[in-house]
């Protein structure tokens, strides 16, 4: 981050965000951390209130807890299907692959753990608002695990396998590299890194007949 962009994020209101988490203390903490860098337009504590708030304010980004009273993050996404331009970023204290993959398959644009620093969270929110995918190292590890479980042999190899480049990008993400660092490491542009990440996310969401879905069903995700 250069000084100029920090100044810019401080003065600019940033993306409009709704925070959905049933833990009041945590919600308050996130709102306080984000307050001067993004525009928090609403909060919610369960599935019903989340759908209500999101429908009312139509934010750019919803920070969505994985587990909620009255359902889970995925049911919030299901309740907001008709809304254009609302993007979801999963935020979880859970490290289980099941929870995370389920939310991403339901349409979340990324996943971060609750131990994330305020800076990284703002960065992730901004990135999701711009339509990019956000991979925490852990999510990258889960995806690599899922795609490497066994060689694919189905009708749609495009969706079943990661390209070599996507694998490289994911491995660097799993090693803790930021997009900028990945771009330098692979001597490609940041935009290209972002498009690889989005492609992986799309494969994760769309592939239905591949190893991934078998992997997921074995783990009772779908």
């Amino acid at each position: 981050m250069t000084d100029a962009s920090v100044a810019a994020t401080n003065t600019w209101a940033g993306p409009r965000v709704v925070v959905v988490d049933d833990h009041a203390l945590f919600r308050a903490g996130v709102v306080a951390e984000l307050a001067d860098r993004v525009h928090v337009v609403g909060t919610a504590h369960d599935v019903a209130s989340a759908i209500e708030v999101i429908t009312a304010v139509v934010p750019d980004v919803v920070l969505l807890d994985v587990h909620l009273p009255g359902g889970d993050g995925a049911s919030v996404m299901a309740g907001c299907v008709g809304l254009d331009g609302v993007r979801f970023l999963a935020l979880s204290v859970s490290d289980s692959a099941d929870d995370v993959i389920a939310l991403v398959r339901a349409g979340a644009r990324g996943y971060v753990t609750k131990s994330i620093t305020a800076d990284d969270l703002c960065d992730a929110v901004t990135r999701v608002a711009a339509g990019d995918a956000v991979f925490s190292p852990r999510l990258a590890g889960f995806v690599l695990d899922a795609f490497s479980a066994a060689p694919a042999s189905s009708a749609d190899p495009e969706l079943d396998q990661l390209t070599a480049r996507e694998g490289e990008v994911l491995r660097l993400l799993a090693r803790g590299y930021a997009y900028k660092e990945i771009a330098r490491e692979l001597t490609i542009s940041i935009k290209t890194v972002e498009s690889h990440a989005s492609a992986v996310l799309r494969k994760l969401q769309l592939s239905s007949r591949n190893e991934l879905s078998r992997w997921a069903s074995e783990r009772r995700l779908i």
């Binding site: 490290d95 289980s96 692959a97 131990s115 190292p137 852990r138 990258a140 590890g141 889960f142 690599l144 695990d145 899922a146 490497s148 479980a149 491995r171 799993a174 090693r175 803790g176 992997w215």
Partner: protein, 413 residues
């Protein structure tokens, strides 16, 4: 707090009571009458039902057993016994001693009538056998039912029944022949059937309420165990964190430590798995433990990401040790609190990356006394046939890359 200290109706007040959760080899059972038989059994290492049967036989033998029983009850502070584990040999000893006493008494005392003693003895031994196998008796095997093999249980129940029927037949007919045995068996079956019809419903009702009560007790115990665990771990940590709120490094370390142990407790150590179940002796479990230790010792946060799993061996353990050295180096010298470790088992290779975004260093200028990198990381990995690479530059952070060819990755070999 309140839960943890809630009184549990088990140990503490009465040392004679059995603690349901601990299958102790030799225990003083619940008293049936005055607890003398149980105490004798515990002291001599016999089964309580066998000793009770012996007392019954001796009582029939002219009342000697009853006198003995009352005498022992009056004399013996049976609560002080140190129990022995019951064995079949000692049970046999009790039976022999009883038979000997009866035999001896028979010479001295006209009150010992064989036509009474023999059937009662047979029935009593049959009942004792049945108790031992049915789990009613308080011997070691009923405390640990998985040890009782089905075949031996059936044999013992059958033997017990034969003894009972034989005893009754002797009592009824005084002469054992096949007809008497058959008639007695039929009479016994009819009588048992009648009793079952009369008492069955209330027995079933009693059994249900008993099991409901037991379920309730188990729930209460589980709750108490959870409360005790939370009290010992989480509440203590929270108290410590409040006390040391002024020391952010210490509180962060406490919180990390607690989080890890709570997760391990909640998910049984399998919470970080991806496709592969975490083998307790596998790479994932070992790496997780190692990373936890480094986090605790050096007050850093390590983002650990793992793909695949494999089994430990001497070479793999050497790589793990090298990775640990890399993490410790980063924790000490990088100047940052956040480190990353990524490891991947592919089909033929284990790869480990340890990375920090700290100040980095010039590899060529590393002092000769900083032997950690040269010996503990590079030398150790090369020594087991792997490769190690350190990439760093001043201000650029450091990344250590370890690679080890493995024959089979991803599954256990």
């Amino acid at each position: 707090m309140t839960l943890a200290s809630a009184p549990r109706p088990t140990a503490g007040t009465d040392p004679l009571r059995r603690n349901q959760t601990e299958p102790v080899a030799g225990e003083v059972p619940e008293p049936l009458v005055l607890g003398v038989a149980g105490a004798v059994a515990a002291r001599w290492g016999a089964s309580a039902p066998v000793v009770r049967a012996a007392f019954v036989v001796l009582s029939v033998a002219g009342g000697f057993g009853a006198l003995l029983y009352l005498g022992l009850a009056a004399l013996w502070r049976h609560r002080d016994v140190a129990p022995l584990a019951p064995t079949g040999a000692r049970d046999g000893g009790v039976a022999l001693v009883t038979a000997g006493v009866v035999w001896e008494l028979g010479f001295w005392w006209p009150g010992v009538r064989p036509e009474l003693v023999i059937p009662v003895g047979l029935v009593a031994m049959g009942v004792a056998l049945g108790w031992r196998s049915g789990g009613i008796g308080d011997d070691a095997e009923s405390a640990n039912p998985t040890k009782v093999r089905l075949s031996s249980l059936l044999i013992r129940v059958a033997a017990g029944l034969v003894l009972c029927i034989g005893g009754l037949a002797v009592f009824v007919g005084q002469r054992v022949d096949f007809g008497t045995l058959r008639d007695t068996a039929i009479a016994l079956a009819v009588a048992l059937g009648g009793v079952a019809l009369v008492l069955g419903p209330s027995v079933i009702r009693f059994g249900r309420s008993f099991s409901a009560e037991r379920d309730q007790r188990i729930r209460v115990q589980e709750r108490a165990a959870v409360a005790a665990h939370l009290h010992d771990s989480v509440l203590q940590t929270l108290t410590l964190i409040q006390k040391r709120a002024a020391d952010p490094a210490a509180t962060a370390s406490l919180a990390r430590h607690q989080e890890r142990s709570l997760r391990r407790w909640l998910y049984g150590g399998a919470e970080l798995d991806g496709v592969f179940a975490v083998a307790p002796d596998g790479w994932r479990a070992a790496a997780e433990q190692m990373v936890g230790e480094v986090e605790d010792l050096h007050a850093v946060a390590i983002e650990l990401v793992m793909v695949g799993d494999g089994q430990l061996n001497a070479r793999v353990t050497a790589v793990l040790a090298a990775a640990r050295e890399a993490l410790v180096n980063a924790a000490k010298f990088s100047g940052v609190m956040h480190l990353s470790m990524y490891c991947e088992w592919s089909h033929d290779q284990l790869t480990v990356f340890v990375r920090d975004r700290g100040k980095g260093f010039d590899l060529d200028l590393v002092d000769a006394d900083r032997r950690g990198i040269r010996d503990s990381i590079i030398g150790r990995t090369r020594g087991v046939g792997g490769t190690a690479q350190v990439r760093t530059a001043l201000g650029e952070g450091t990344e250590v890359e370890l690679r080890l060819p493995v024959r089979t990755g991803g599954r256990r070999d």
